[in-house]
């Protein structure tokens, strides 16, 4: 699967950034056209091989609700995987946003973002890395499994998440990719995976509608 994120206005010549994501991840359909979105949702259900009618309905409703929720805000895409990893079930989510950095100086954006994330205090660790040809910030945090859990006193599982901010070469934008998983025993695998995905970032001139 490739995440293609459009930079700027939607024209044929608009650059897109492309991230390579393993085929294990199912992208939550976020198409704006209802028919296309519904078709893509059905495809996800098919690809996952779910046979229980109730479960298919539940997932279908949730995918649609999530699509409505994400139709506003800065998050451009989210995907999840449900796999067997070294003999046990494992799951993770991948979420992507494009963030305006206000500078084409990738070094400044990375150093500024790293410092801002350190000062914010939410992250257990913040680091600066060179991912191939990209300077990047990585930040790791742990939090309750759902927003609001802590507030209503429920004790849920812990989600560990890692965010990578990669400035887009030649643009005043950065891709922010977050991988989150409750499967802490698989953390090392997911951490490596996320860094590989971030390393794969490329800018292409092709409009996403023409990639097909």
């Amino acid at each position: 699967m490739r995440f293609a994120l459009l930079i700027g206005s939607r024209t044929e010549a608009a650059p897109v950034i492309v991230l390579d994501v393993p085929p294990d991840f199912y992208e939550v359909p976020l198409q704006t056209e209802t028919e296309a979105r519904t078709a893509a949702q059905l495809q996800v259900l098919e690809d996952m091989g779910l046979s229980d009618t109730g479960q298919r309905e539940a997932l279908s409703l949730y995918l649609e609700a999530l699509a409505i929720r994400l139709s506003r805000g800065s998050v451009l895409g989210t995907a999840f995987c449900a796999v067997s990893l070294e003999g046990h079930p494992s799951t993770a989510t991948l979420t992507v946003a494009l963030h305006a950095t206000g500078t084409a100086d990738r070094g400044l954006a990375v150093m500024g973002a790293a410092e801002a994330m350190r000062r914010e205090g939410r992250y257990a660790s913040v680091g600066i890395h060179e991912l191939g040809v990209h300077p990047a910030v990585t930040a790791i945090a742990e939090r309750p499994s759902l927003p609001g859990d802590a507030a209503n006193g429920q004790v849920g599982a812990t989600l560990r998440e890692m965010s990578v901010l990669v400035p887009v070469p030649g643009h005043e934008q950065a891709a922010m990719i977050t991988l989150s998983t409750p499967c802490l025993e698989d953390w090392a695998v997911y951490e490596t995976l996320l860094l590989d995905i971030a390393r794969s970032l490329q800018v292409q001139r092709t409009h996403p509608d023409f990639i097909h």
Partner: protein, 292 residues
Amino acid sequence: MRVDLVLGFDPTPSEPQQLVVLSDVLRKVIRALVQARSELGHIGCTGSVWDGPVGAPIAALLRRYSLQMSALEESLVECLQAVDSWRDGVEERQSQVTSIVASVADLAGDPTAEDRRTRLIATAREVGVEHDRAAADLAAAFEELSGAVEQIVRADDDLGELDRALVALTAAIDDWMAAEAPELLRTAVSLGEVAGLTTVISELVGIAALGRKPGDAAGVREIIARSPGSHRLIRALRRQWLEVAPATLPEATFSSRSSGAITDILSGRRTQTATSDSGAGFSVGGLKGSGE
């Protein structure tokens, strides 16, 4: 047999053990310098945080240090070679002197061997001259090292320049944070929230049991409120789906713990895309910006 007692002088004074220690220390310093120089030389390359207008002056200064370190490294290597060559020479010369000393000792008490003894002692003195010449070469190598160190000390002015560049960088970072950090942190929080909401899918699929009813969480309640089938969604989210979890899950393609393997998978897929468009069995594209 003590050389100075037999010959009246020691033509090849040296402490071999101390030379071994000196040689080891020089090797360690050279290794550390090579590593530091290569890291400094890498600064400012593509992919580095110093690869930009704000970091570039600092990278340029650090690369200048790299050049100075290169000169220092060259002098150290010459010193090491001089020490090693001195060690080898010392061994040879001391062995020659040992043999001379044994011969002179054998001649002790023999009044007819005066000429031979004189010749042997003269040979020992020649060895001593050679030894002094080698010592001078060694000293010259260390003189050169001292000169290289001196040059670096004189280049202290660069440190002031570096200091000013670092102050400018700190100011630029502070300005950037003042303008951009709030929005950046909002985006980060938002991504985390969406990641949490997407995790609910794993619960619906039955492969994650996070120990609570997702429908009771604030973020999910917001989603339910916007859903066209909210009452059915509430019911679905209150169910436990573990019993209908898929019997088998596909083996993760990224399960290898080696980063290279994942890279291979990704690059293999990229090649496939280029040659066979979207018919390679994985979807392409789909996420579009909001600026449409």
